[in-house]
Symmetry: none
Subunit: 142 residues, 4 copies
Amino acid sequence: MKTVPKLTLEDARGIMDAAEQRSREIGVDMDIAIADDGGHLLMFHRMDGARITSIDIAISKAFTAAAARRSTRSYAQTGLPGGPAYGIHVSNQCRFMVIPGGLPIFVDHQIVGGIGCSSGHCDQDESVAQAGVDAFLRGLKK
Amino acid sequence: MKTVPKLTLEDARGIMDAAEQRSREIGVDMDIAIADDGGHLLMFHRMDGARITSIDIAISKAFTAAAARRSTRSYAQTGLPGGPAYGIHVSNQCRFMVIPGGLPIFVDHQIVGGIGCSSGHCDQDESVAQAGVDAFLRGLKK
Amino acid sequence: MKTVPKLTLEDARGIMDAAEQRSREIGVDMDIAIADDGGHLLMFHRMDGARITSIDIAISKAFTAAAARRSTRSYAQTGLPGGPAYGIHVSNQCRFMVIPGGLPIFVDHQIVGGIGCSSGHCDQDESVAQAGVDAFLRGLKK
Amino acid sequence: MKTVPKLTLEDARGIMDAAEQRSREIGVDMDIAIADDGGHLLMFHRMDGARITSIDIAISKAFTAAAARRSTRSYAQTGLPGGPAYGIHVSNQCRFMVIPGGLPIFVDHQIVGGIGCSSGHCDQDESVAQAGVDAFLRGLKK
């Protein structure tokens, strides 16, 4: 047996608040999803101007980041035609997202979850996700 | 063209807060989903002890209540073997929930969304959903 | 080789007009779908008050009636638990509808399509479908 | 709460008539789909020579344009291998279309729906969709 850290609803609230705040700062309403270490949805918020198609994309980015334990950006190159991971984007019932905007969340090198954002340019999406991760890690150090 | 009311993220926050509070009062952690008038997810929270299988169920209950404009309970009898709606539970890619716990939200007889809860007994699920609806309608009267 | 009759867009318009008119007469807005002899969608209209969940149900009823060459009502009994067709409602990727409201359309004993209606009680759905079939067959006799 | 405009069946009829007329003018029968602001199907017509494979494509183009609030063409470049949205074409259960021929419909900068066409070259598809949008917007000015 081993013991692992686990995100709570309160942890998710803090991550979500920071991500929403960054969205407002950059002026792009987002779909924001937070998954647990199994990739399962913990929390989802759709801001008023966020896209309906991005509901699924945000949730899939959070799933991918948590369950693959890597940023979705890290598959953007290897998942290209000719790359070693080509085809991975249709795995897992097409929920494996290779578009940046999904980030894993680690505590002491142990995966605890992922956050996925969508509705803006992928760099904006990732910036909002990063704000959520950063706020969480800052909170742990207190 | 016609004009219809639409839920905002702030509306969803109020609904979610009331539903979470009811969950804590009855001592059953829930998966709680809120959908817009098209059945699309607006907000989802998983409380710490809520079931992973109930993520999908709560989201599907919110979808069904909003998109069919009726409580999921209203299909529990008609959807039984021999009832006039038998088989409806596998329609809409099996997202049509006939288990109580999904309630539509109307404003001036116009559908604006739905709330779906899951993890407890279906009467508990519906009680939590009702708390969310009630708080929203009370807020409108102020 | 053989020669078969085939529905045209103009045929579908006539069927749809009659079905919409019956819907207005009974005061229940409907989702109405018309399929060709292969069960593939030819025409779909959603009336203003029709349910979103009934989009899929109407299309699946039209598919089932055309492709099984029988009314969806004809499976309501045989598809019950213990009946000879039990389980058929989850076949064809759960598109096999056993709820009344889907009718096949025959010309000289040859299947040419199906019509499926949904949003009311299943008897109302079937009445609207029947109005479409009747108008089509009356038109052929002229 | 906010208030938004909503397409009616009569609005959809006008859009469809104009699109069908353009199809006949260019001599290419089309599958034509119109979705509401949530991406849900409002109306679908298959012209006599239109492809069966294009039923799904037209419906998915209408969904994508409405729910992403952008033309499907706008994803044709960004969705290419190496582009920032590569992989988006398999999101939303593979209903996210990146082939031109899907256009969003806006009223006063508010999304009200989308139209998707398929069966010809993608430029023809988009031309037919544009005819539908143009007719609708002309009608509003009257």
